[in-house]
Symmetry: C2
Subunit: 211 residues, 2 copies
Protein backbone atom coordinates (compact mmCIF):
# COMPACT_ATOMS: atom_id res chain seq x y z
CA UNK A 1 0.00 0.00 0.00
CA UNK A 2 1.46 3.35 -0.93
CA UNK A 3 0.41 6.98 -1.27
CA UNK A 4 -0.25 8.03 -4.84
CA UNK A 5 -1.44 11.19 -6.53
CA UNK A 6 -4.97 10.93 -7.81
CA UNK A 7 -6.04 13.57 -10.31
CA UNK A 8 -9.48 14.28 -11.66
CA UNK A 9 -7.84 15.29 -14.89
CA UNK A 10 -6.58 11.82 -15.72
CA UNK A 11 -8.78 11.68 -18.79
CA UNK A 12 -6.62 14.21 -20.63
CA UNK A 13 -4.15 12.82 -23.11
CA UNK A 14 -1.46 15.45 -22.62
CA UNK A 15 0.68 13.41 -20.22
CA UNK A 16 4.21 13.33 -18.86
CA UNK A 17 6.11 10.06 -18.86
CA UNK A 18 4.98 9.42 -15.31
CA UNK A 19 1.32 9.81 -16.16
CA UNK A 20 0.77 13.33 -14.81
CA UNK A 21 -0.78 16.01 -17.02
CA UNK A 22 1.38 18.58 -18.74
CA UNK A 23 -0.03 21.97 -17.83
CA UNK A 24 0.19 24.87 -20.22
CA UNK A 25 -0.35 28.27 -18.55
CA UNK A 26 -1.52 31.11 -20.82
CA UNK A 27 1.13 33.29 -22.43
CA UNK A 28 2.73 35.76 -19.99
CA UNK A 29 1.07 34.12 -17.00
CA UNK A 30 2.05 35.00 -13.48
CA UNK A 31 0.65 35.26 -10.01
CA UNK A 32 0.06 38.80 -8.77
CA UNK A 33 -1.21 38.08 -5.28
CA UNK A 34 -3.11 35.46 -3.33
CA UNK A 35 -6.13 34.87 -5.55
CA UNK A 36 -5.05 37.26 -8.34
CA UNK A 37 -3.43 36.11 -11.59
CA UNK A 38 -2.50 37.85 -14.84
CA UNK A 39 -1.82 36.65 -18.37
CA UNK A 40 -2.39 37.11 -22.07
CA UNK A 41 -5.56 35.82 -23.74
CA UNK A 42 -5.98 32.15 -22.81
CA UNK A 43 -6.20 29.67 -25.67
CA UNK A 44 -8.11 26.40 -25.46
CA UNK A 45 -4.92 24.44 -24.71
CA UNK A 46 -4.57 26.54 -21.54
CA UNK A 47 -7.97 25.53 -20.17
CA UNK A 48 -6.63 22.47 -18.29
CA UNK A 49 -4.21 24.74 -16.48
CA UNK A 50 -6.83 27.42 -15.80
CA UNK A 51 -9.01 24.72 -14.35
CA UNK A 52 -6.46 24.19 -11.56
CA UNK A 53 -6.82 27.83 -10.44
CA UNK A 54 -10.46 27.36 -9.46
CA UNK A 55 -11.23 30.81 -10.86
CA UNK A 56 -14.35 32.63 -9.78
CA UNK A 57 -13.97 35.56 -12.21
CA UNK A 58 -12.08 36.95 -15.16
CA UNK A 59 -11.39 40.61 -15.94
CA UNK A 60 -11.09 40.99 -19.70
CA UNK A 61 -9.70 44.34 -20.82
CA UNK A 62 -10.29 44.32 -24.61
CA UNK A 63 -13.24 45.76 -26.56
CA UNK A 64 -13.46 42.70 -28.85
CA UNK A 65 -16.15 40.11 -28.03
CA UNK A 66 -14.87 37.29 -25.83
CA UNK A 67 -13.95 34.26 -27.96
CA UNK A 68 -16.77 31.71 -28.23
CA UNK A 69 -14.71 28.76 -26.95
CA UNK A 70 -13.48 30.80 -23.96
CA UNK A 71 -17.08 31.75 -23.17
CA UNK A 72 -18.01 28.06 -23.19
CA UNK A 73 -15.15 27.31 -20.78
CA UNK A 74 -16.39 30.04 -18.46
CA UNK A 75 -19.97 28.81 -18.58
CA UNK A 76 -18.92 25.21 -17.95
CA UNK A 77 -16.93 26.28 -14.90
CA UNK A 78 -19.28 28.92 -13.55
CA UNK A 79 -16.71 31.70 -13.97
CA UNK A 80 -18.02 35.27 -14.13
CA UNK A 81 -16.74 37.53 -16.90
CA UNK A 82 -16.14 41.26 -16.31
CA UNK A 83 -15.35 42.99 -19.58
CA UNK A 84 -13.85 46.47 -19.69
CA UNK A 85 -13.30 47.43 -23.32
CA UNK A 86 -10.03 49.34 -23.49
CA UNK A 87 -8.54 49.93 -26.93
CA UNK A 88 -5.12 48.37 -27.52
CA UNK A 89 -2.74 49.82 -30.09
CA UNK A 90 -4.31 52.72 -31.94
CA UNK A 91 -2.90 55.36 -34.28
CA UNK A 92 -2.65 57.97 -32.90
CA UNK A 93 -2.39 56.38 -29.43
CA UNK A 94 -5.46 56.90 -27.24
CA UNK A 95 -4.89 57.61 -23.57
CA UNK A 96 -5.74 54.86 -21.07
CA UNK A 97 -9.32 55.63 -19.83
CA UNK A 98 -8.99 56.46 -16.12
CA UNK A 99 -12.60 55.79 -15.17
CA UNK A 100 -12.65 52.40 -16.88
CA UNK A 101 -9.46 51.36 -15.11
CA UNK A 102 -10.95 52.53 -11.81
CA UNK A 103 -14.07 50.44 -12.44
CA UNK A 104 -11.91 47.41 -13.22
CA UNK A 105 -9.88 48.06 -10.08
CA UNK A 106 -13.03 48.01 -7.97
CA UNK A 107 -13.89 44.58 -9.34
CA UNK A 108 -10.29 43.46 -8.81
CA UNK A 109 -10.01 44.40 -5.15
CA UNK A 110 -13.38 42.87 -4.31
CA UNK A 111 -12.28 39.62 -2.67
CA UNK A 112 -15.70 38.14 -3.39
CA UNK A 113 -14.56 37.88 -7.01
CA UNK A 114 -11.39 35.95 -6.16
CA UNK A 115 -9.67 33.85 -7.40
CA UNK A 116 -9.58 36.17 -10.40
CA UNK A 117 -7.58 36.29 -13.64
CA UNK A 118 -6.84 39.61 -15.37
CA UNK A 119 -6.03 39.45 -19.04
CA UNK A 120 -6.04 41.48 -22.22
CA UNK A 121 -4.46 40.15 -25.40
CA UNK A 122 -0.74 39.86 -24.53
CA UNK A 123 -0.91 40.66 -20.80
CA UNK A 124 1.44 43.58 -21.20
CA UNK A 125 -0.05 47.08 -21.46
CA UNK A 126 -3.69 47.09 -20.37
CA UNK A 127 -3.15 44.32 -17.81
CA UNK A 128 0.11 45.96 -16.76
CA UNK A 129 -1.61 49.30 -16.11
CA UNK A 130 -4.35 47.70 -14.03
CA UNK A 131 -1.85 45.71 -11.96
CA UNK A 132 0.26 48.86 -11.58
CA UNK A 133 -2.73 50.69 -10.13
CA UNK A 134 -3.39 47.76 -7.78
CA UNK A 135 0.19 48.03 -6.54
CA UNK A 136 -0.39 51.69 -5.78
CA UNK A 137 -3.44 50.71 -3.74
CA UNK A 138 -1.12 48.32 -1.92
CA UNK A 139 1.31 51.18 -1.20
CA UNK A 140 4.15 49.79 -3.29
CA UNK A 141 6.79 52.41 -3.98
CA UNK A 142 6.59 53.73 -7.53
CA UNK A 143 9.93 52.37 -8.71
CA UNK A 144 8.87 48.82 -7.81
CA UNK A 145 5.50 49.30 -9.53
CA UNK A 146 7.22 50.42 -12.72
CA UNK A 147 9.82 47.65 -12.52
CA UNK A 148 7.06 45.06 -12.38
CA UNK A 149 5.25 46.69 -15.32
CA UNK A 150 8.42 46.64 -17.40
CA UNK A 151 9.28 43.06 -16.51
CA UNK A 152 5.92 41.89 -17.83
CA UNK A 153 5.88 44.15 -20.90
CA UNK A 154 9.46 43.30 -21.88
CA UNK A 155 10.78 45.22 -24.86
CA UNK A 156 7.23 46.40 -25.64
CA UNK A 157 7.00 48.65 -22.55
CA UNK A 158 5.48 52.07 -23.19
CA UNK A 159 6.42 55.33 -21.54
CA UNK A 160 2.81 56.52 -21.66
CA UNK A 161 1.75 53.51 -19.58
CA UNK A 162 4.34 54.37 -16.94
CA UNK A 163 3.06 57.95 -16.94
CA UNK A 164 -0.52 56.71 -16.59
CA UNK A 165 0.34 54.51 -13.60
CA UNK A 166 2.29 57.28 -11.94
CA UNK A 167 -0.52 59.82 -12.39
CA UNK A 168 -3.36 57.46 -11.44
CA UNK A 169 -5.10 58.69 -8.32
CA UNK A 170 -6.03 55.87 -5.95
CA UNK A 171 -7.05 58.00 -2.98
CA UNK A 172 -10.77 57.68 -3.75
CA UNK A 173 -10.46 53.90 -4.03
CA UNK A 174 -8.40 53.64 -0.85
CA UNK A 175 -11.30 55.13 1.03
CA UNK A 176 -13.92 52.78 -0.34
CA UNK A 177 -15.11 49.67 1.42
CA UNK A 178 -13.91 47.27 -1.27
CA UNK A 179 -10.36 48.45 -0.79
CA UNK A 180 -10.64 47.91 2.93
CA UNK A 181 -11.94 44.38 2.36
CA UNK A 182 -9.01 43.72 0.08
CA UNK A 183 -6.43 45.04 2.48
CA UNK A 184 -7.95 42.97 5.20
CA UNK A 185 -7.51 39.84 3.08
CA UNK A 186 -4.43 40.69 1.00
CA UNK A 187 -1.14 39.03 1.81
CA UNK A 188 0.72 42.29 1.93
CA UNK A 189 -1.42 43.48 4.75
CA UNK A 190 -1.79 40.42 6.92
CA UNK A 191 -0.67 42.42 9.91
CA UNK A 192 -3.32 45.02 9.40
CA UNK A 193 -6.68 44.65 11.03
CA UNK A 194 -10.05 46.30 10.81
CA UNK A 195 -10.78 48.54 13.76
CA UNK A 196 -13.10 51.30 14.80
CA UNK A 197 -11.77 54.83 15.13
CA UNK A 198 -12.75 54.86 18.80
CA UNK A 199 -10.83 51.67 19.53
CA UNK A 200 -7.72 53.23 18.14
CA UNK A 201 -8.10 56.25 20.35
CA UNK A 202 -9.08 54.44 23.53
CA UNK A 203 -6.79 51.44 23.49
CA UNK A 204 -3.03 51.77 23.43
CA UNK A 205 -1.66 49.71 20.55
CA UNK A 206 0.27 46.64 21.68
CA UNK A 207 3.85 46.22 20.47
CA UNK A 208 4.17 44.32 17.19
CA UNK A 209 5.05 40.73 17.97
CA UNK A 210 5.89 38.03 15.45
CA UNK A 211 4.02 34.77 15.93
CA UNK B 1 -17.86 55.84 13.71
CA UNK B 2 -16.20 54.42 10.63
CA UNK B 3 -14.02 51.51 9.59
CA UNK B 4 -10.37 52.43 9.27
CA UNK B 5 -7.18 50.58 8.48
CA UNK B 6 -4.99 50.03 11.48
CA UNK B 7 -1.40 49.03 10.76
CA UNK B 8 1.24 47.86 13.19
CA UNK B 9 3.79 49.56 11.01
CA UNK B 10 2.58 53.05 11.72
CA UNK B 11 5.83 53.93 13.43
CA UNK B 12 7.72 54.00 10.11
CA UNK B 13 8.35 57.37 8.58
CA UNK B 14 8.11 56.29 4.97
CA UNK B 15 4.51 57.37 4.45
CA UNK B 16 2.09 58.13 1.65
CA UNK B 17 0.06 61.32 1.79
CA UNK B 18 -2.78 59.42 3.41
CA UNK B 19 -0.57 58.10 6.20
CA UNK B 20 -0.08 54.55 4.94
CA UNK B 21 3.44 53.14 4.60
CA UNK B 22 5.20 53.06 1.26
CA UNK B 23 6.35 49.49 0.72
CA UNK B 24 9.49 48.72 -1.22
CA UNK B 25 9.68 45.11 -2.44
CA UNK B 26 13.16 43.77 -3.16
CA UNK B 27 14.50 44.13 -6.70
CA UNK B 28 12.93 41.67 -9.17
CA UNK B 29 10.33 40.58 -6.63
CA UNK B 30 7.39 38.43 -7.64
CA UNK B 31 5.07 35.80 -6.30
CA UNK B 32 5.70 32.29 -7.61
CA UNK B 33 2.93 30.41 -5.85
CA UNK B 34 0.86 30.50 -2.71
CA UNK B 35 3.54 30.86 -0.03
CA UNK B 36 6.49 31.06 -2.45
CA UNK B 37 8.17 34.33 -3.47
CA UNK B 38 11.31 35.18 -5.46
CA UNK B 39 13.54 38.25 -5.68
CA UNK B 40 17.02 39.65 -5.76
CA UNK B 41 19.00 40.18 -2.55
CA UNK B 42 16.84 42.21 -0.14
CA UNK B 43 18.29 45.48 1.11
CA UNK B 44 17.44 46.98 4.50
CA UNK B 45 14.88 49.32 2.94
CA UNK B 46 12.96 46.23 1.78
CA UNK B 47 12.57 44.83 5.29
CA UNK B 48 9.26 46.61 5.98
CA UNK B 49 7.83 44.99 2.87
CA UNK B 50 9.29 41.56 3.69
CA UNK B 51 7.72 41.85 7.09
CA UNK B 52 4.27 41.81 5.47
CA UNK B 53 4.96 38.38 3.91
CA UNK B 54 5.21 36.69 7.29
CA UNK B 55 8.10 34.59 5.98
CA UNK B 56 9.02 31.38 7.71
CA UNK B 57 12.15 30.69 5.61
CA UNK B 58 14.55 32.03 3.03
CA UNK B 59 16.48 30.06 0.42
CA UNK B 60 19.70 31.91 -0.36
CA UNK B 61 21.54 30.64 -3.41
CA UNK B 62 24.92 32.44 -3.22
CA UNK B 63 28.20 31.20 -1.67
CA UNK B 64 28.93 34.58 -0.05
CA UNK B 65 28.11 34.94 3.67
CA UNK B 66 24.64 36.35 4.30
CA UNK B 67 24.84 40.12 4.98
CA UNK B 68 24.99 40.94 8.67
CA UNK B 69 21.97 43.28 8.65
CA UNK B 70 19.88 40.70 6.77
CA UNK B 71 20.87 38.08 9.35
CA UNK B 72 19.68 40.40 12.09
CA UNK B 73 16.34 40.85 10.33
CA UNK B 74 15.96 37.07 10.08
CA UNK B 75 16.80 36.58 13.74
CA UNK B 76 14.41 39.30 14.85
CA UNK B 77 11.59 37.73 12.85
CA UNK B 78 12.37 34.08 13.52
CA UNK B 79 13.00 33.33 9.84
CA UNK B 80 15.06 30.24 9.00
CA UNK B 81 17.89 30.60 6.48
CA UNK B 82 18.73 27.80 4.04
CA UNK B 83 21.91 28.62 2.17
CA UNK B 84 22.94 26.74 -0.97
CA UNK B 85 26.19 28.21 -2.26
CA UNK B 86 25.98 28.27 -6.03
CA UNK B 87 28.59 30.30 -7.90
CA UNK B 88 27.25 33.18 -10.00
CA UNK B 89 29.15 34.50 -12.98
CA UNK B 90 32.50 32.70 -13.38
CA UNK B 91 35.05 32.61 -16.16
CA UNK B 92 34.88 30.05 -17.65
CA UNK B 93 31.21 29.48 -16.73
CA UNK B 94 30.68 26.64 -14.25
CA UNK B 95 27.68 24.37 -14.80
CA UNK B 96 24.74 24.70 -12.40
CA UNK B 97 25.27 21.98 -9.71
CA UNK B 98 22.39 19.53 -10.12
CA UNK B 99 22.59 17.99 -6.66
CA UNK B 100 22.63 21.38 -4.93
CA UNK B 101 19.58 22.52 -6.90
CA UNK B 102 17.82 19.28 -6.00
CA UNK B 103 18.59 19.84 -2.31
CA UNK B 104 17.21 23.38 -2.55
CA UNK B 105 14.14 22.07 -4.36
CA UNK B 106 13.45 19.66 -1.50
CA UNK B 107 13.47 22.55 0.95
CA UNK B 108 11.30 24.59 -1.41
CA UNK B 109 8.51 22.04 -1.86
CA UNK B 110 8.36 21.31 1.86
CA UNK B 111 5.24 23.27 2.82
CA UNK B 112 6.42 23.33 6.43
CA UNK B 113 8.96 25.94 5.30
CA UNK B 114 6.32 28.22 3.74
CA UNK B 115 5.90 31.15 3.33
CA UNK B 116 9.35 31.09 1.75
CA UNK B 117 11.43 33.57 -0.26
CA UNK B 118 14.00 32.37 -2.81
CA UNK B 119 16.74 34.80 -3.71
CA UNK B 120 20.25 35.01 -5.06
CA UNK B 121 21.81 38.36 -5.95
CA UNK B 122 19.67 39.63 -8.83
CA UNK B 123 16.92 36.98 -8.79
CA UNK B 124 17.64 36.03 -12.37
CA UNK B 125 19.85 33.00 -13.03
CA UNK B 126 20.20 30.89 -9.89
CA UNK B 127 16.71 31.77 -8.64
CA UNK B 128 15.37 31.35 -12.17
CA UNK B 129 16.82 27.85 -12.46
CA UNK B 130 15.37 26.76 -9.13
CA UNK B 131 11.93 28.14 -9.98
CA UNK B 132 12.17 26.51 -13.42
CA UNK B 133 12.78 23.13 -11.76
CA UNK B 134 9.81 23.75 -9.45
CA UNK B 135 7.62 24.39 -12.49
CA UNK B 136 8.72 21.04 -13.91
CA UNK B 137 7.67 19.38 -10.66
CA UNK B 138 4.33 21.13 -11.16
CA UNK B 139 4.07 19.67 -14.68
CA UNK B 140 4.24 22.98 -16.50
CA UNK B 141 4.99 22.53 -20.19
CA UNK B 142 8.59 23.38 -21.02
CA UNK B 143 7.84 26.41 -23.19
CA UNK B 144 5.98 28.09 -20.31
CA UNK B 145 8.79 27.26 -17.89
CA UNK B 146 11.34 28.87 -20.18
CA UNK B 147 9.12 31.88 -20.88
CA UNK B 148 8.89 32.55 -17.15
CA UNK B 149 12.66 32.19 -16.75
CA UNK B 150 13.27 34.66 -19.57
CA UNK B 151 10.74 37.16 -18.29
CA UNK B 152 12.55 37.34 -14.96
CA UNK B 153 16.07 37.31 -16.38
CA UNK B 154 15.31 39.95 -19.02
CA UNK B 155 18.13 40.69 -21.41
CA UNK B 156 20.52 38.76 -19.12
CA UNK B 157 18.96 35.36 -19.88
CA UNK B 158 21.43 32.55 -20.50
CA UNK B 159 21.06 29.67 -22.91
CA UNK B 160 22.93 27.36 -20.52
CA UNK B 161 20.32 28.01 -17.83
CA UNK B 162 17.53 27.04 -20.25
CA UNK B 163 19.49 23.88 -21.11
CA UNK B 164 19.92 23.12 -17.40
CA UNK B 165 16.21 23.48 -16.68
CA UNK B 166 15.28 21.36 -19.68
CA UNK B 167 17.69 18.58 -18.72
CA UNK B 168 16.92 18.63 -14.98
CA UNK B 169 15.42 15.32 -13.92
CA UNK B 170 12.58 15.73 -11.44
CA UNK B 171 11.34 12.14 -11.46
CA UNK B 172 13.15 11.24 -8.24
CA UNK B 173 11.69 14.29 -6.49
CA UNK B 174 8.19 13.62 -7.82
CA UNK B 175 8.25 10.30 -6.04
CA UNK B 176 9.35 11.67 -2.68
CA UNK B 177 6.97 12.49 0.13
CA UNK B 178 7.80 16.21 0.18
CA UNK B 179 6.66 16.55 -3.39
CA UNK B 180 3.40 14.82 -2.57
CA UNK B 181 2.87 17.16 0.37
CA UNK B 182 3.47 20.11 -1.91
CA UNK B 183 1.10 18.92 -4.58
CA UNK B 184 -1.50 18.31 -1.95
CA UNK B 185 -1.19 21.92 -0.81
CA UNK B 186 -0.14 23.69 -4.03
CA UNK B 187 -2.66 25.82 -5.87
CA UNK B 188 -2.04 24.12 -9.17
CA UNK B 189 -3.19 20.85 -7.78
CA UNK B 190 -6.15 21.79 -5.66
CA UNK B 191 -8.24 19.20 -7.40
CA UNK B 192 -5.81 16.43 -6.64
CA UNK B 193 -6.14 14.40 -3.51
CA UNK B 194 -4.10 11.87 -1.64
CA UNK B 195 -5.43 8.35 -1.97
CA UNK B 196 -4.39 4.78 -1.47
CA UNK B 197 -3.74 2.56 -4.48
CA UNK B 198 -6.47 0.16 -3.36
CA UNK B 199 -9.05 2.95 -3.11
CA UNK B 200 -8.39 3.86 -6.67
CA UNK B 201 -8.97 0.32 -7.81
CA UNK B 202 -12.01 -0.41 -5.68
CA UNK B 203 -13.96 2.85 -5.87
CA UNK B 204 -15.17 4.28 -9.14
CA UNK B 205 -14.02 7.89 -9.42
CA UNK B 206 -16.87 10.43 -9.19
CA UNK B 207 -17.33 12.90 -12.02
CA UNK B 208 -15.48 16.16 -11.57
CA UNK B 209 -17.86 18.81 -10.31
CA UNK B 210 -17.10 22.48 -9.90
CA UNK B 211 -18.17 23.97 -6.59
Amino acid sequence: MCLIMDSEDDHHNNNNNDGTDVLSPPFNFSMVEDGIYRSGLPRPDNFTFLDTLNLRSIIYLCPEPYPEENLKFLQANNIKLFQFGIEGKTDPPTPMPKDTVLDALKVLVDVRNHPILIHCKRGKHRTGCLVGCLRKVQSWCLSSVLEEYQKNAGLKWRQRDLNFIEAFDIVSLRKCLLSIMYRYHGYGFKRRRLAYEEEKVQTPKPQATKV
